[in-house]
């Protein structure tokens, strides 16, 4: 009898193995994502949860999602999370990590949040070398509030508050904050990725995993920028937005590692 049931369950399992080609991460809830169709946020959230699931650290993770399109992340994921005030995610994460030093702590922040209102918190958390992972979604725009100019809006780029294109003489230059944090002694791993095609999605996922694994070493901050699109804010179709991203954003935000294991990678330029 016992043999028989085992055989049946084995058969069932092998059947499943043959039919399942893709499975949603168990850490993503049934709640439909509030992100616009074609937005990179959905992919970034997905790979983040896949990493946590694959590392089997659900019970050890605390995430921080501040104001912006990231604000509802806690609704789409099955992990403990804190929703933070605009720009303050790394301060919140600093305290969580210091109070619970053996847990994995990450922030998931947009560019307006991390590189404008939260610049001080970002720089100082990185400079203190807080053992956290910062996931930085850079789509060059304030998505949640309707597509206003962000610190990362590239020269000439249109937004609702730079409707004729960003004039750097008037509004200042785009801020490459990732290059800045790479220079700080507190950062251990600084890298820039995108989610514009499957190959890059896989690389971004690997980087996020490294950001979590680094926390075991307690050697400093891991900072993963993901250059992403904003079809609604950019007023483009998802396909066009990724084409535009490749042709324009990558010039200002070149993909690749800036710092690995605490050592700066020399710029090729």
């Amino acid at each position: 009898m016992v043999m028989k049931t085992e055989e049946i369950s084995l058969n069932k399992e092998s059947e499943l193995k043959e039919t399942v080609v893709y499975k949603k991460s168990s850490l993503l809830t049934e709640k439909p994502l509030s992100y616009c169709p074609g937005c990179g946020h959905g992919i970034a959230t997905k790979i983040l949860m896949e990493v946590i699931e694959e590392m089997d650290i659900q019970s050890e993770v605390i995430g921080v999602c501040p104001v912006g399109c990231s604000v509802f992340q806690y609704e789409f994921v099955d992990i403990d999370m804190q929703q933070a005030a605009h720009g303050r995610a790394t301060a919140v994460a600093t305290a969580i990590k210091r109070c619970l030093p053996d847990k994995y702590v990450f922030t998931y922040q947009g560019d307006g949040d991390l590189a404008a209102i939260g610049t001080a918190e970002t720089i100082h958390a990185c400079n203190r070398g807080e053992n956290i992972l910062i996931v930085f979604i850079n789509n060059g725009i304030y998505g949640m509030t309707g597509g206003q100019m962000a610190p990362t809006t590239i020269p000439g780029m249109k937004s609702s508050t730079s409707p004729y294109g960003r004039d750097v003489k008037e509004t200042g230059n785009n801020l490459n904050i990732t290059e800045i944090v790479a220079q700080l002694p507190g950062t251990y791993y600084v890298t820039r990725h995108s989610v514009n095609n499957p190959a890059n999605i896989r690389k971004a996922k690997k980087a996020i995993r490294k950001g979590f694994e680094n926390q075991i070493l307690k050697k400093g901050t891991s900072f993963v920028e993901i250059v992403s699109n904003c079809p609604s804010g950019w007023k483009m179709s998802p396909i066009d937005s990724f084409k535009w991203l490749e042709q324009n954003m990558f010039k200002y935000y070149p993909l690749g590692d800036l710092k690995i294991d605490g050592i700066l990678i020399n710029s090729k330029k």
Binding site: A84, A85, A91, R98, C99, A120, H124
Partner: protein
């Protein structure tokens, strides 16, 4: 029993935090409260019991660190002085909105703006009536001695966790800076058990925990607001604290808190020596305000005099409690100026001549 020491108010507060089992302190230097952070740094409690102490890059960062630590169910304290507390108001609103227990200490100085580093009570409105955005309340305690700077720390933590609400100790530069004898309570063992709502990592046996203050649907937002208001009503029912001095036969009643109450204590003594039937009610909790007792006395006393180190803030709550039954006078000094007991008594005597 307790250890007796001569300490500054700020130092007594810091020592009390260590003894009360505070898990984390975040702060940023500002006069006249920098001794809190300095004292904590000198005592190295991180080596003693793992208490986290961190000097932040700004007050907004510090209050958001409080949010993060409080969200993990930890006992957290922060201290600052008036301009710094203004910078924290957004974070305090978020803490109230996310119902996170914590202790915020304001060692008040004169304002507005950069103001002065001398003592003041001009942040009463900010502490009691909100400060940040939205309908929320802090539980506000007003110490009038170094002893109370010490004793209100464990009391604040108890209240904060009992109601899942931020608690504020509203002190001032005088109480913070002066040295007095203080009897320190014995260290309270730290509880390792964290609240069931804390974000500590989602385990299989419970649903995920989320710390948030966002409710996008208006009906949900209203429902949450109703919940908060009910909580504040409970606080009003259970937590009113005040001190009465020579009130039973008083014709004239002084109402004052904190430093001003200390001065008024002396006024009562001097007035009684001259045969004036004068008493003092010292609100210890500013929210909840001791409105019932003031309302009761408004039936028996002749007049009230409210004394504050500001332009007249708590006097509004006294008037609301008296409901026009008796005259309510006000005397205040501003910008760091401190009235003497004789100055206040003279005012009372002049008023008496008019009667």
């Amino acid at each position: 029993m307790g250890e007796i020491r001569l300490m500054k108010g700020n130092e007594a507060l810091a020592e009390a935090a260590i003894r009360a089992g505070c898990d984390a302190y975040f702060g940023y230097p500002i006069t006249p409260q920098s001794e809190v952070l300095e004292y904590l740094a000198s005592q190295t409690p991180e080596k003693l019991n793992g208490m986290v102490i961190l000097q932040s890059e700004s007050e907004p960062a510090a209050i958001n660190m409080v949010y993060g630590a409080a969200g993990c169910g930890k006992k957290v304290m922060i201290s600052s002085s008036s301009p710094g507390i203004s910078l924290m108001q957004e974070g305090i609103s978020y803490l109230a909105g996310a119902e996170l227990p914590c202790l915020i200490v304001n060692v008040m100085r004169g304002g507005p703006g950069l103001g002065t580093i001398q003592p003041s009570q001009a942040d009463y409105f900010q502490a009691v009536k909100g400060g940040g955005h939205g309908d929320y309340k802090l539980i506000v305690l007003a110490p009038d001695s170094v002893q109370e700077m010490c004793d209100f720390v464990p009391l604040s933590f108890d209240l904060a966790f009992k109601y899942r609400n931020p608690v504020m100790i509203l002190s001032d530069g005088m109480i913070g800076q002066m040295m007095e004898k203080v009897i320190l309570f014995d260290p309270i063992p730290r509880s390792e058990k964290l609240a069931e709502w804390a974000t500590t990592g989602k385990t299989k046996n419970r649903p995920k925990n989320v710390i948030t203050s966002i409710h996008l649907h208006p009906w949900e937002m209203e429902e949450f607001n109703i919940h908060l208001q009910k909580k504040y009503e409970k606080v009003k029912e259970n937590e009113v604290r005040y001190e009465e001095i020579e009130t039973q036969d008083a014709d004239y009643l002084l109402i004052a808190f904190g430093s001003a109450a200390r001065i008024c204590h002396k006024v009562v003594k001097l007035g009684r020596e001259k045969g004036i039937k004068i008493g003092l009610i010292r609100p210890i909790t500013l929210f909840p305000f001791p409105e019932k007792v003031i309302s009761e006395y408004s039936k028996s006393v002749k007049e009230f005099l409210v004394v504050e180190l500001n332009a007249g803030q708590m006097v509004e709550d006294v008037k609301l409690s008296v409901e026009g039954r008796k005259p309510v006078h006000f005397y205040g000094r501003m910008g760091g100026m401190i009235p003497s007991p004789e100055e206040i008594l003279k005012l009372i005597e002049e008023k008496l001549k008019w009667l």
